[in-house]
Symmetry: C2
Subunit: 460 residues, 2 copies
């Protein structure tokens, strides 16, 4: 931003927000840094609004001066979504963290965008209801909606796509819209709620979200099973899904990763492809779900099936999955993880994982394969030492190969991490002419391209 404009904008922001405007370099840097290997792109200002009205004023100021706006929640996205590529104003919504309404009768909760996943969990603790969607980090609800977040429970409860009932957003022209209603369904007009979910801050600033709540299950059980191969684990998954066992989580962790976790967490799980399960239901239902799951697993050569009913033992069982990232980093001290994910039709999943693993291992890289296999979605967590290394270059090449493989299998270049800047270059290949429709929608809603420019839609 030119210095004359910058001082004028700064004065206006300060008048509006007092000391909730930052030009402190540390603050700027922290807001321009992705959870990954990207170059830092700090914004010109970070602002901390406390109300919708303040956001409207900030957006109007930006609109008037064609200043980029980057909405910012917890900053935990890994696709570079929050990098201020063209400078501008980062709107940090963490002070807008009020849980506005908890409505158990209609089973929804309305929150401000800065409410975090954990905060919402705590608020619902002790009630009969919960919100099932959550990534591995403590993201904000605004960020989760913006990136169409998902996580381990998606196989049963869907993603943010299925679980946002309504939103309020401020458009780039400062206009406030409500995207839906509090009704469970509607057939009146274009589905703007689903348009804004996953739009990565490119269409407006979300100021309020209404989420579906679910009944807490009477019982939760967990299980773990070792497999002779990735194929056996994936085939088990297919059988479980195909026979309608309403499993809540099915997570695959590859043998090499299990080994790293064992070392890090002092565990001694067999270092082979492993599935972790969670089941929600009544006692009688869960006994049935476990029995069927075990049968499917053992038919595929699964062994060491371990089932836990006690909460503390379940926690211990899941520790392996939870410790995944730190375990891989501990195995490669000083490394940063390059993460990627694709999602394919489940019938192609085993093939996709096996070929990918082979590629990385042959290149001497640690692929760190794990994922939400019930959805056909898997991740790589590749430990790398900076972006100047041969390993980094090779990992980029193999990631490209992985994405092209996923697309060729009828899948998508990202199941849940999103585009940001990471997968911009695959948008054309994945979406073809649809990309032009997305571009037209973006131009219709944000003609000056001030909302998170350079993300989601590649420049022409």
């Amino acid at each position: 931003m030119k210095s004359k404009l910058k001082s004028r904008v700064q004065a206006q922001l300060q008048q509006l927000l007092g000391d909730r405007v930052s030009t402190n370099q540390e603050v700027l840097d922290r807001h321009g840094e992705a959870f990954s290997l990207y170059e830092r792109h700090p914004p010109d200002f970070v602002v901390f609004p406390k109300s919708e009205e303040e956001i409207v004023s900030i957006v109007e100021l930006c609109s008037h001066n064609q200043i980029p706006i980057i909405p910012f929640g917890a900053g935990t996205s890994i696709g570079g979504h929050i990098l201020a590529l063209h400078g501008g104003i980062c709107i940090d919504v963490t002070l807008m963290n009020e849980i506005i309404e908890v409505n158990y009768e209609d089973m929804y909760v309305t929150v401000q965008p800065g409410v975090t996943r954990n905060q919402l969990d705590e608020r619902l603790e002790g009630s009969d209801f919960f919100f099932p969607i959550g990534p591995a980090v403590n993201a904000t609800i605004g960020g989760m909606a913006s990136t169409r977040a998902s996580g381990t429970n998606a196989v049963r409860y869907g993603t943010m796509r299925e679980n946002v009932l309504d939103m309020v957003a401020i458009l780039p022209n400062g206009e406030k819209i409500r995207t839906g209603s509090k009704a469970k369904k509607s057939s009146t007009g274009y589905d703007l709620t689903r348009l804004f979910v996953g739009s990565e801050g490119t269409l407006g600033v979300i100021t309020e979200l209404t989420l579906k709540l679910y009944c807490r299950p009477e019982r939760i059980y967990s299980a773990r099973c070792s497999f002779p191969s990735i194929e056996a684990a994936v085939n088990t998954t297919i059988k479980i899904i195909q026979t309608g066992v309403p499993v809540c989580k099915i997570e695959l962790v590859d043998g090499q990763v299990i080994e790293a976790i064992n070392a890090y967490s002092g565990l001694s799980n067999p270092a082979v492809p492993t599935l972790f399960f969670e089941f929600h239901g009544t006692e009688i239902e869960l006994d049935d779900h476990i029995r069927k799951t075990r049968k499917h697993a053992e038919e595929q050569g699964g062994h060491g099936f371990l089932m836990e009913k006690e909460e503390s033992k379940q926690k211990k069982l899941w520790q392996a999955r939870r410790d995944l990232a730190p375990s891989v980093m501990a195995r490669f001290p000083g490394s940063t993880l390059m993460t990627t994910d694709v999602c394919v039709p489940i019938s192609r999943l085993a093939e996709c994982i096996v070929e990918t693993e082979k590629d990385f291992k042959e290149a001497g890289l640690f692929p760190g394969i794990h994922g939400h296999v019930g959805d056909g979605n898997f991740h790589l967590a590749i430990p790398l030492y900076g972006t100047e290394t041969e390993d980094y270059k090779m990992a980029k090449v193999l990631n490209k190969k992985l994405i092209k493989r996923g697309l060729a299998m009828g899948g998508t270049s990202s199941g849940e991490h999103g585009i940001g800047i990471e997968k911009l270059s695959y948008m054309k290949e994945e979406h073809g002419s649809s990309l032009e429709v997305m571009r037209a929608i973006k131009a219709a809603i944000d003609p000056e391209n001030i909302m998170n420019p350079g993300k989601l839609i590649p420049d022409k």
Copy 2:
């Protein structure tokens, strides 16, 4: 259409489609008639393409000459969606009725838009899988997607919103797009699938749809229960939903309607508000679901709880619900039904129904109340004798009152019937500034406004 243009277009269409172009008045009339009390608006031509390529050519012809296009499936919509308000070409897709791929492993089916609900059911018969979404009539899948159809199973399986995985559509410029992929989830770009679902033919012509399949439940049970009041029935519904009983259908039929059904079908059900239930699951699960449902019902004064496990007996139990429309028409011989629906947060449902019933009864009208109460969605089926009567005028006034009541309760002006032309005048009140966003999207994708003009989005 001017006669010179018309003959030129006719020649071009005939060259393209041979005898699959109709100007026969009966055919035109049948395609310009809604399942309701609207004035007839026949198109200039009805065409019957057999392939995507033919649709592209038709759309290009229309685009070049700015001729309105009305996509047409079974013509069963009740909101006037298919009326050719400005003439033009009706694209009847019923010859495009191929089931392209049934993929049990990945649990999806890909169909052409003219495939009907019953045709799909028949194809899946005998398999372990089914498609749960269906309105009361034998609509086409293309039409169901276009109107975001729903039906009795939505409380458990969602609506078309949740169940279309991917689509192919021809844009108004003749460009072909694919809206998604075959992966179960994705976080790459704007959700065009959800944008096209419910767009009522205003954005493009759908030529292919991929739908999610579900495992057939091991067992299906049905039940029926009588209640002392609408409130008692709705409170029972709320309790069932709130305690997580995964009921598949909960249908309310009002006492007056039960009376009409009894007379029509020779039944003797108590003529009081009645809930009909269907449950999907294993034997052991269903016993539990039935037990809980019955307990909730009886706590609200429910009586005469009848449960059926045998298929033929379940069919008989549901006959009452199925015979609803003919029963009401038989009670008022020669009448046409005016239908309407709203959807509200379930906590407001009893109040909404009771007030609405009172309004209609006080005006001497038969409201014909029934609905998918598990979703907070209910219908009116009002027998009327033409549009020239005082009753018709009164029904219009009370329908307006109902919609305003629904909106004031945080609901939507239609849960599943859609806008068409029926509820155009409420779009502004329901969506506020969001309507301008819809208008901008429409203009971006269909700048010449040739796709089903005059529907969904009110003229300025």
